[in-house]
Assembly symmetry: C3
Homo-oligomer: 670 residues x 3
């Protein structure tokens, strides 16, 4: 790309009145240079089966092309039209709750031939109407695709075939791996395979969810193949991935393996939503950005993020601009709002766009105008920003699913409150707050050696090969920080039956035979101090050092003999293990040691809310971002080489003091 | 009416032993002069299809007639007999949860021809057995009728016809108004109309609920027509309306449009249940009374209220009497308990009547004896009490339903915790506590000009004509207090797309483009003071004055530029706007200004728990009620004309000090 | 029995690798002399319909027999194999939620002929393979049997027959007793009987649950008959009963009438799970033990209890041993852990056995080795321990179910938070903490006269005969402590319609007509003091003494005239009544009076955490247990006859001071 994309989703279809020319005028004023259209408008494009009407798409493309605004076309397939469901009710996914009712988006069986038949036809028609247009710079296939719990007979029959293949038709192997003898669940003939929706066997249940995730890969690949028949070489192909949703983009998406699903794309894309106002920290922008950039180890698109967002997110002055540069600082090549105008009806009426329902200028829109102007001015210095991170976090859909079945705080009796993504975010957020940038890697990744430090949160379910890969990584000189629950079970959620932590025992230099939940248990050792909360939290493994240095032990009359945090030199590397959850302060002390040990400096002595990010631009120059994620002015010393403030053109020399106003931004190139 | 009705529901059918003569004896001792019978006893009246047995009804009428106790006959149709459901399971309403099981009351499809066929027959039989009886003074059709979520195919097909009619068969008009293009919900052929139970479109969903409310109107009208064929001119026709239930009668009934449904009645009736003991304030008695009185702008019947009620409600000494006079003070012509005896089995065993299960005298019964005696003595001065209120609150089922779909605190992502009725009660309770009596009006009302002040809580969904009516009302000299969320969307829940607050912008003299949820936001201005909580609560619109006086602004570093409460002179009137929820103290300061501006005095300088109510009796005299809603003696100055204490016959002159004991009552005529 | 059984459940079927010889070696080291096998392994024993494979059972029996370890065989019927459900989906119980999906245990219709047919066949096959084996000392039929909500048509049709029988085909009697006229629920022809799953009538609903409990009795009796055809005289027959589960064994089992269901057994058995670590009090061990011992008034088996248990239960040092002796002190002849090894897959992966998943020795296993050694040494002094308790608590499934329907705190409007078992435990726990041992009795019991004091918690639903039995018991010289809600309704949950407390009015010397929930209500009288919380809690009856001594009155301006706790001399006995719930301190003061009055001493002046238990062993000697349920050393005076410490052989004389370490045990014989 040559310039930063700054834009919005635009829905001509939803307009309560004629707005197109006026909207384009306001877009131009705001510096908007791209819109995403057509996504989720199937019932408008194909009002009746086989009757197509691309009026809205065509008129928007025409006007945008004339205005010099690029267009991304989204295939409309993530919400199905009424006529399809009326004729073929089976198109609605049958889930554990039975077959649903028409109404919401994302409720269909993405494997269903009826759905596929109609989806293919509308995509082909849409491609025919759009691929030749100059303004169309790329395609987004579907939107936030997941498997929507689809678990009807057809899907379950496919699953049985999948599992027969996995176990080479060996029932006994399956029964043993999944432990199906328990509670008489053993399956002694393939035709006895029970309705998997009722299973209480986490191995079988998690395998089914893994299978369901492959349906997403297959579906996106299938769409990509269709689009690829039509799109021009210069048109990119992307998808709008999203994250575990906790009222905002929180963590690894449970229902999609982003790593696999992104293979069919030319560029990764995502939506990132986050708390705002006093809750704005930039963490989710960085987290989602780091994860999406890592998918293809390249720049990515922010296809959606909040403008005004929910009523509780109406941004304070400066925040929209701060957010925009934070996306860019993570390597995004676009900042696109969802959406241009606030929708006047239905489910997302209060998910507000750049414009309110009144289409008038407002404070948020006016701040977008500033961003658009600045992007135009300095965008060429910010586009295609490259990272050379030395730290990575290993995330795993399998571990996530496993800990959904088995919990962390939880016993078999019920679900707990701390989940896989809490552990991921516990590590990520500490790095972020310490101004250490990182990448993400997956079990499938083979680029471990490019990192000096790998963090491994709660890798509960892992094949031996993966653990051996980590072992080798450390032996060969890498540093690793692994947490409780790592290496506990194999990829089939069968708990390993040798001494824990299984293959990593030597590498980590610890073993344990028992664990419990901490109640009034403290931590003491060289990574604790009087300033920080030293409580052991959530879960505690009763570690026994087998050569590792004990960095912290438990403080408790019955558990005092056990280690909580250890550090072990192994081969040419170092491996840390954290047997319990801790307050962030204790974790930061540990990470400080690990980063120093791995030779990775923080980008600043200062911590959050002063955030520093770095990248290398198309001119081969370093770009330094100083973000103030607070309402109070922040002062920091510029510790990098002499630089130029890209916006003010002022010179900033090494050692100079920089002052950043509330929710402010400083961008230096040097 | 000539006398106050004092009575109970009576169920001879439920008696565990022969009690009739003994009960009548105890009723006479208590001064009870009316009972309501037959309601909900279908399975006893018609034990098998077509086999009728009115033994219980007839023997009770006979004994009551002999004892000089009047009888109200309730049609038994709100609970269906087993034989009907066994033969015709479809009679049970199909709701969003599918078809229910037999068991509870109020579970049938009130539109179902089978139900209608049998209901009509049993009503006609009951009428034949009762209409000629002298003791029968009136009829109650059905009981607490609602639509019970009925949404089966038959109901949905009727709904499609309704909506075709509403939009004159114009699909495009419907799609546009409801915004159905969103998420591909567009309906392009009537036969594609999807199962509305699954809709996520609030416009469509709210319209369906509005349609369901019309089923109640139609059903009650249908019953009224049948009863009218038989009842004598001197026999009234009523219905027992109830309110939004939050463990007690809280607010506007979501599932019934009382205004429409009451048209077929000759007198409005309701049940009113409320907290007791230390939680007794009289608010619900006044609220339910004011609302029911306003339906036909006439006196009304309290057909049910608590005697002992729930175990947590067992009244303190004096409370039953205080409650009785509070009903009368609102214009009720009856106080009827639910019910005479506590039921020995089933769902309402712990909803206790005047008598406990032991049929013995108890403290509550003994207090009823006092009330009965006093009613007999002074009832002629209290019956048919008339009000001339100058204040009214505009309530709307449409706004209520809309805010159920869209929330106040909530975003589209989920339901919030503050609802329409919270806003209604916020206003109402302040008036009540300030000793200002009021009426209710509805969007359909055309008597606005009889009021000097109209309060408009959160009128979220309103047709333009209604807003224009309010605009004219102010322009012509009226005063109005409107709150946040008013005028935001049209009657189809489509957000207005001009500047907010839409048509009322000029009238209110404000505009806004953005809103948010207040977090640590204060209020400052001439209606705030140091005594009261000045926090902005729940929701805040960022108001910009366009000529209005700013009575309070937000105190917050980012929102300080915006107004929170405004006052605008418009035409010959004045319009206030409250952009956020506040503590009651701030609201009272605002209302004090508005009441003064409108020339409406409070009935007392004192506030709750000293409550003053006023009316004009059949002798054309003023009746003044002083209620002490507390356990501490209250003292107040009589500021009205010289009067006589109706019970003690003592003279009370203007300026005299009146002392009211704990949970006590003073009634003056002057 | 000749020796204490010390053992575990053992599942060769679940092993991830060959472990049998190694496990037996570790068992022998731990002193384990019994294992329970085969339970819940149907799909392994009968992998396909009619194809049996008892390899696992036989090889385990062989190895155990050789090792001198006894075996208990569990019939495998509480979890059904996939092939059965695939062919006969109706085998899955239809409940109020419809028919379930295959997956969990305990989901079948235990009345279903298909299930019965296959269950009988697999039991017979299993018996043929095991009954002749010398090592097999007994059988457990099924496991934790309940009725699993089974309520399909077949079950409901059987219920109608049951109810016709109960009411001698007299519909009118049923309608009257159940109060079905209410809400038109009256049933006027048997063929009209509605689906009982929807009923809101607590009398009908509770009767259905009572009927469902009889299905458990019948099912266990049926299994017992089959097993009895095969088992040797020296082989016992037991069942593993469990208790109301609140994350641990809490109270009376709602779904089984243990008293009836245990009739077909030769020895009672149960599982007992309880909090651990700082939450370990011994209460549940004593409660479950006292209840199970009382079933057949004989020693019983602890067939399951926790080893490591849930992660939050990993025992502190000493706790496993303390628990083991606590079971024995209650009269258990066995302590068997669930289970030997922690399971590597599925639902109970985190319900940990003696061994962790790694099969290594761990702290818990090592403590088991100590227990095993001690049991071997002194077990002959502890086995068959007999009790001669003078105190009993009357518990009732009918009262429990009734208070589930009607609540205690609750009104008819919804369920409350205090339930029957809370009242039971309130009384039991006070006795336990005061070191008073007790038995349990049931409505069916006829051994009341063997007790000097009977406690009657909330006997809400009771037939007159039972109340008369209690009345006679007191009249004849017994002492009784009854609580609120006792005698309120008859066995059909019909509230008694004479003055409360009905038949017990004279015996208790009180009456009441009203009740309420206490809000800011205190208690004052001779059983209150300044040390203890004197709040009236949960529910309060407004008692009026009719001759009884008032031990405490309510402190409240409106309720001050009413009594709260009373004591009445009646005939030769004494009856106490508690009209409200209280803090334990007030209850203990009352019980101190009642125990003294009944001539029952505590086993110690000290209270919990110092627990004393007593029994008579096979040598006719008294055995005294001193348990320290705390982390602090406890000191107590030995007030019994001169004794010998069974473990250390030290002499302990009357008056000697005994010191018990943290979580420690002292066992004296004298």
């Amino acid at each position: 790309m040559k310039e930063l994309l700054f834009g919005t989703a635009y829905y001509d279809e939803y307009m309560p009145c004629e707005r197109l020319d006026k909207d384009v005028e306001m877009m131009k004023k705001a510096g908007i240079n791209v819109v995403r259209i057509a996504e989720s408008t199937w019932s408008t494009c194909e009002p009746q089966e086989g009757a197509f009407d691309f009026t809205h798409v065509e008129r928007v493309m025409d006007v945008m092309e004339q205005a010099g605004i690029s267009v991304i076309i989204g295939t409309p397939t993530y919400a199905v039209p009424t006529w399809m469901v009326k004729s073929y009710p089976d198109v609605i996914a049958t889930t554990v709750n039975g077959r649903g009712l028409y109404g919401a988006r994302q409720i269909m069986d993405i494997t269903h031939p009826v759905y596929r038949y109609y989806a293919e036809r509308v995509i082909r028609e849409l491609m025919k109407h759009t691929a030749h247009k100059k303004c169309v710079i790329g395609y987004q296939i579907d939107n936030e695709t997941k498997y929507y719990g689809t678990a009807g007979n057809n899907v379950q029959e496919r699953f049985v075939k999948y599992i027969r293949h996995k176990f080479h038709d060996d029932l006994d192997a399956m029964n043993t791996e999944f432990g199906l003898d328990y509670w008489s669940n053993r399956i002694n003939a393939w035709e006895d395979f029970p309705d998997v929706r009722g299973t209480v066997n986490g191995s079988l249940g998690a395998e089914f969810e893994k299978f369901q995730r492959t349906l997403v890969d297959e579906f996106l690949g299938w769409q990509a193949d269709i689009v690829n028949e039509y799109r021009r070489k210069d048109q990119f192909l992307t998808h709008n991935f999203d994250f575990e949703w906790r009222g905002y983009s929180f963590g690894v998406q449970p229902d999609v393996n982003h790593y696999q699903a992104s293979k069919c794309l030319t560029v990764a894309g995502a939506d990132i939503y986050h708390p705002s106002q006093d809750g704005l920290t930039g963490t989710e922008i960085a987290f989602g950005g780091d994860m999406t950039r890592s998918l293809k180890q390249d720049n990515y698109l922010v296809l959606e993020t909040e403008a005004q967002g929910f009523p509780g997110w109406t941004p304070y002055k400066g925040q929209l601009r701060l957010q925009a540069y934070s996306h860019i600082a993570s390597g995004a090549n676009s900042v696109m709002y969802w959406h241009w105008h606030s929708i006047h009806n239905s489910f997302e009426t209060y998910w507000k766009g750049l414009l309110s329902h009144d289409f008038e200028e407002n404070e948020t829109y006016r701040e977008a105008c500033v961003i658009g102007k600045e992007f135009r001015e300095i965008g060429s210095h910010l586009v295609n920003l490259k990272k050379k991170n030395k730290t990575a976090i290993l995330v795993s859909n399998e571990a996530l699913t496993a800990l959904k079945w088995f919990g962390i705080e939880a016993s078999a009796a019920g679900p707990g409150n701390t989940w896989y993504n809490d552990v991921v975010r516990w590590l990520y957020d500490a790095l972020y707050d310490m101004n250490v940038e990182c990448d993400f890697i997956w079990p499938e990744s083979d680029n471990l050696d490019q990192y000096q430090l790998i963090l491994v949160p709660a890798l509960y379910a892992a094949p031996d090969e993966l653990l051996k890969k980590l072992d080798r990584y450390v032996k060969n000189g890498g540093s690793m920080v692994a947490t409780f629950k790592t290496a506990f079970a194999n990829e089939n959620l069968k708990v390993n039956y040798d001494v824990q932590p299984h293959i990593l025992k030597d590498c980590l230099g610890v073993r344990y035979h028992q664990f419990t939940f901490p109640k009034n248990v403290g931590l003491a050792g060289r990574i604790t101090d009087h300033e920080h909360d030293t409580e052991a939290k959530v879960f505690m493994e009763l570690l026994i050092s087998e050569g590792a240095e004990v960095m912290a032990s438990y403080e408790h009359y019955n558990w005092g003999q056990y280690a909580a945090v250890t550090k072990n030199h192994y081969g040419n590397g170092t491996a840390y293990y954290i047997g319990c959850m801790t307050a962030q302060g204790v974790l930061e002390n540990l990470l400080t040691d690990a980063l120093k040990n791995a030779g990775i400096p923080s980008l600043s002595e200062k911590k959050s809310p002063l955030i520093v990010r770095q990248g290398i631009n198309d001119f081969g120059k370093n770009v330094y971002f100083y973000f103030n994620y607070s309402a109070e002015k922040q002062v920091v010393t510029h510790e990098f080489s002499d630089s130029t403030d890209l916006l003010t053109k002022e010179e900033v020399r090494t050692g100079d003091t920089i002052s950043i106003p509330a929710w402010g931004v400083k961008i230096l190139e040097g």
